[in-house]
Amino acid sequence: MSLLFEPTPDGAGRYLDWILSGLGWTLSLALGAWTIALVVGTLVGVTRTLPKGILPRIGRVYVEVFRNIPLLVQMFFWYFILPELLPVRLGMVIKQMDPPWGSFVPALICLGLFTAARIAEQVRAGLQALPQGQIQAANALGFSRANMYRLILLPQAFRIILPTLTNEFMTIFKNTSVALTIGLVELTATAREINENTFRTFEAFGVVTMVYLVIALIAWQIMHRIERAMCLPSLAGGSSRP
């Protein structure tokens, strides 16, 4: 592992600095996209449980489109195609963003909206798992629909889906690696660059593999703690989850 402390060819620092920079981009992309995904995913998930109208249909189209196209193709869409389809002036603004923002922003939107579709399905499943009595009771007590979702249904649904959300949260860190295809130098791209500079394949990829393992472990720990803190003894299955 002495590789980490050797100077980089640009003379600006050590390879460790490259790894830390890659880690920084991976974490910011994952956490930023996760925030977008939670907000959009919850909204879309809610629309899918609404009784009728155009909204549930829009929600369904959203989920099907974003789930049935590979993430990498979606990445290319946001990066290469969207600026071409927009009005010329706006397209130019996007294309002329300075690196690394020129690839970070499309990657952020892409990964956020992609993950949102998957969270939406889980939110919908969580909402549909609640007994009908909850909705009837909320109606009887005179809750508006927005308040019913906000105060009664969503808090319970999220507790039900926390274990699957944990899975999704761990996946988003892995999915950030797809952003290397549009030029973001995140962790995996860093490993590739170090390998190209030093030909020390084992060390370069070994270190980055370790970093991903640690990220997975920490992500799991965080979600596990949230799960324990959120668990309600009264909710069936809410207690003593492994």
Partner: protein, 228 residues
């Protein structure tokens, strides 16, 4: 920006060739992944720690790192590994397709292993006892009694994972392989037709995956009705 349909029509044969490679990766990944994954699942359920611990470690490792990283690992290490096995002392050049097949079997096996293991756990314990009572050997019990039931119980999840695998094949882009997306990229760069090519492959992926996921949903409904 105008979309030029004739450019798409001209590219179609090459795209279909790419699609065929995508399908090949998927088929190898599914077959190898389920075989290797089932072995891992059985190993994880073994009472012998020496067998179950490495299997668990393998699954956790593979599930913690991105597929792209695994593709790079295999891409750089398989030539060395073959050189070492054949004692030639230097890396042996291998084709991109071999690298890709190896990667997908190794990677997907970890995911299929978890699904098959869930299948084994969904079988009523009486089935295990009955196998013992009938004097079936462990091997026969797994092959004739437990495995068929486990697979049936998790069939929809296995198929859903296969759709994910089909989408994941697009990541072979990182080693410039010519799958569906790779073919589209090559034409897009040659002719400067990024918009047409990427929209076309997007639609092809969507149609295939949507049809497959609708089929799985249908199957799920039918199985849920018939089982127990």
């Amino acid at each position: 920006m105008m979309v030029d349909l004739s450019a798409i029509a001209a590219a179609l044969p090459y795209l279909l060739q790419g699609l065929w490679f995508t399908v090949q990766i998927t088929l190898v990944g599914v077959t190898g992944g389920i075989v290797f994954g089932s072995l891992i699942a059985v190993a994880r359920l073994s009472p012998n720690r020496l067998i179950s611990t490495p299997a668990t470690a393998y699954v956790n490792l593979m599930r913690s790192i991105p597929l792209i990283l695994v593709i790079f690992w295999v891409f750089f290490l398989v030539p060395w590994a073959i050189g070492w096995v054949t004692r030639s002392g230097r890396p042996v050049a291998v084709g991109a397709s071999l690298t890709i097949f190896v990667t997908f079997v190794l990677f997907e096996a970890a995911y299929y292993a978890e699904i098959v293991r869930a299948g084994f756990r969904s079988i009523a314990p009486g089935q295990y006892w009955a196998c013992d009572a009938l004097g079936l050997s462990k091997r026969h019990a797994y092959i004739y009694v437990l495995f068929p039931q486990a697979i049936r119980n998790v069939l929809p999840i296995l198929l859903t994972q296969t759709i994910v695998l089909f989408q994941d094949t697009s990541l072979v882009y990182v080693i410039s392989a010519t799958d569906l997306l790779g073919a589209a990229t090559k034409i897009a760069q040659r002719d400067g037709r990024l918009v047409e090519m990427y929209l076309t492959v997007g639609i092809i992926y969507f149609v295939l995956c949507y049809a497959a996921s609708q089929f799985v949903k249908e199957l799920q409904g039918r199985l849920a009705y018939g089982v127990r």
